[in-house]
Symmetry: C2
Subunit: 218 residues, 2 copies
DNA sequence: CCGGATCCGTAACGATACTG
DNA sequence: CAGTATCGTTACGGATCCGG
């Protein structure tokens, strides 16, 4: 939406004054999955170009949405969400939850698929009651991707990489299987039986519980 | 974000392929408050220009977010949200709820203030438990604006105009008082005592309950 | 090489005039 | 009243170049 502001005394318009420019919300989407470096972001969103990317990052830093941090042992710099930025999780995932329903037209590049982006949106689509009182983690390996979902009494948090805490379930599958499951064209029971999903850790009861917690009803 | 799509198989990106262009989310914001005509929208968002406005409306119709309807007795055409569009209430209000926290800088035009836009965002900022089991309506008259909030067991729905159903509370105040209350610079009790708010209908108990249901904690 | 900054052609926006 | 047409201005997208 350009750096021109709407200039309206409306909370939605003021949010969009910061978040409304092209690419901005997709950048925050990436940060919702964890800290990322300039080069990683550029690899994911190459059409931004280095100039646009550095522009947006500087703007988000200035508005207190992200901050630069040194990442673990090697001090390679990265960007991550501030508390204010983390509070965007709810609205952005709500938007993604809405987007799950949308038809996938021919302009979508299927090779751009990343399971963690779908999983991220699933963490807001389900019913919080399905995980009330539950506290555990699930880890996914989809093709070369690794990500996990931390469940904590009704709240679900998806992040890239392996889980820091012990996981109740670890599964492995390919992208086609993952998409078929999300789109309801396949069932967890069938995929497990046929070997399309491998249960690397956890028992069948936990496996079933995981899909119940994540259940998405189109 | 232009009619160019991101082309990513990501629910957030697909949502933004439809909603990401400049002005689009502000249009939907207006429809969340009720049906509106071309001319009314243009009066609210004059910087769009007639061409941009008709472009966006056509795009939203094509994507099934809004539809054209004939408004009550006189058959003046108007646009209103479809079911799919109405489902955007949650994500957009979540964004507005986040925006309530943002500082109001000098680029904001104070004369653009509309109480119903603030109230709209407040309907998503509070705790649903505060209105669990409650079913009633509140009506507001802020300067020349009239709008109402329908409470229904944890869900709050703000709309322009008077309430179709009987209201539990009807209040009247000016914009300065409304903003001071929302920003926590004034309290309902003081405003009522000093006559800054007039309680046109309902008792003090209902008045207090209303503010509890709507309570916004910065 | 990584994180940027500079430059430039193209596409979207903002304003106004015009039409059914 | 509800749009279309036109046009100057601004942002985007892609490539190239700079400093550590």
């Amino acid at each position: 939406m350009t750096n021109k502001t709407y200039g309206q005394l409306c909370p939605i318009a003021r949010s969009l004054d910061i978040l409304g420019d092209r690419w901005t919300l997709l950048l925050i989407r990436e940060f919702l999955l964890g800290p990322k470096r300039f080069k990683e972001l550029l690899a994911i969103l190459p059409a931004m170009g280095t100039n646009r990317l550095s522009e947006r990052l500087a703007m988000l830093v200035q508005n207190g949405i992200i901050q630069q941090v040194a990442r673990t042992p090697s001090s390679l710099p990265a960007y991550e969400l501030t508390d204010l930025g983390e509070q965007l999780r709810k609205p952005i995932l709500a938007l993604g939850s809405w987007g799950l329903k949308l038809p996938i037209d021919e302009r979508i590049d299927p090779t751009s698929a990343r399971a963690e982006l779908i999983a991220l949106c699933l963490t807001s689509a389900g019913d919080p009651k399905a995980s009330a009182g539950l506290r555990e983690a699930y880890e996914f390996q989809v093709d070369a991707e690794v990500f996990h979902i931390q469940v904590n009494d009704g709240s679900l948090l998806a992040r890239s990489g392996p889980s820091a805490e012990p996981v109740a379930v670890r599964v492995q599958c390919d992208m086609a299987t993952f998409l078929a499951l999300v789109q309801g064209q396949d069932t967890p029971a069938r995929a497990l039986r046929e070997g399309d999903i491998k249960l690397l850790l956890g028992d069948r009861q936990a496996f079933t519980r995981m899909f119940k917690v994540l259940e998405y009803k189109p």
